[in-house]
Symmetry: C2
Amino acid sequence: MIEIIIDIDDAVPQFAQLIEQIKGAVLTDKLSPGDALPSIRQLANDLQLNNKTVAKAYRLLERDAVIQTKGYRGTFVHPDAKTNSAVDLCTLVVSKLSATVEELRGSGVTDSEIRIAFGDVMNRRES
Amino acid sequence: MIEIIIDIDDAVPQFAQLIEQIKGAVLTDKLSPGDALPSIRQLANDLQLNNKTVAKAYRLLERDAVIQTKGYRGTFVHPDAKTNSAVDLCTLVVSKLSATVEELRGSGVTDSEIRIAFGDVMNRRES
DNA sequence: CGTTGTACCCTGCGTATGAATGGCACATCG
DNA sequence: CGATGTGCCATTCATACGCAGGGTACAACG
């Protein structure tokens, strides 16, 4: 069993703390590919978290290919977990966005306008 | 004199309404290159707006090369005003951002994460 | 049946942001 | 001096968003 500690008062969101610690456990070999992870409800109960919070962390971890959910059979550590735990998708996103934003700023576009346009782009999806 | 009407209850910000109407006047030849515009304080008084609101609109209009402020001599319609009024900088910004965002979404990045990363990018500047 | 992951609904709290307003000051022209 | 555009300081209000929580329900296994 791995030890996971969630600090409610931490500025870092709970689901993010969970992700960090699971990725950390993979990187330090406390979790190995194929290992079974506690179920969402189980872990939520152990850590005194809401199901949704744990589910969110699991969902993101699976998208990052750090874990693998096998439907009704539970959740397991992904074969390439160690590699994928090291990759910081967030950093990639930031750098990509940064490039675009810098380009726009260079064109004399106001930060406010960039924010507004960004909001539009993010909302246009559902309409 | 051109007629400008600002609707306080409109969802569109006042300064944006001002910009729209001035650009519109340029496109319909109610304003021609070289024409003098009312001073910031004057227009603010006429339209019952705050100086800052008008100043904001003028600042953005000048950046879009629709008007030209000649310091203490007042503000005038830019020689290329008609061309530049047609260009919607906002649209350009939206399309550029849209491309980047779509690319990220395609990589499986969550909208929330994009928003967070975007916020980081916009704030990292001052630090 | 019970457990698995997952999906949808709605709520409240805290924070961040923009919009608008106000005040004060400046340098430059005429 | 008076007018110009411009700068920085501040505040108030409303809105949007993320985070967390609660509830209910579903299909697919064992």
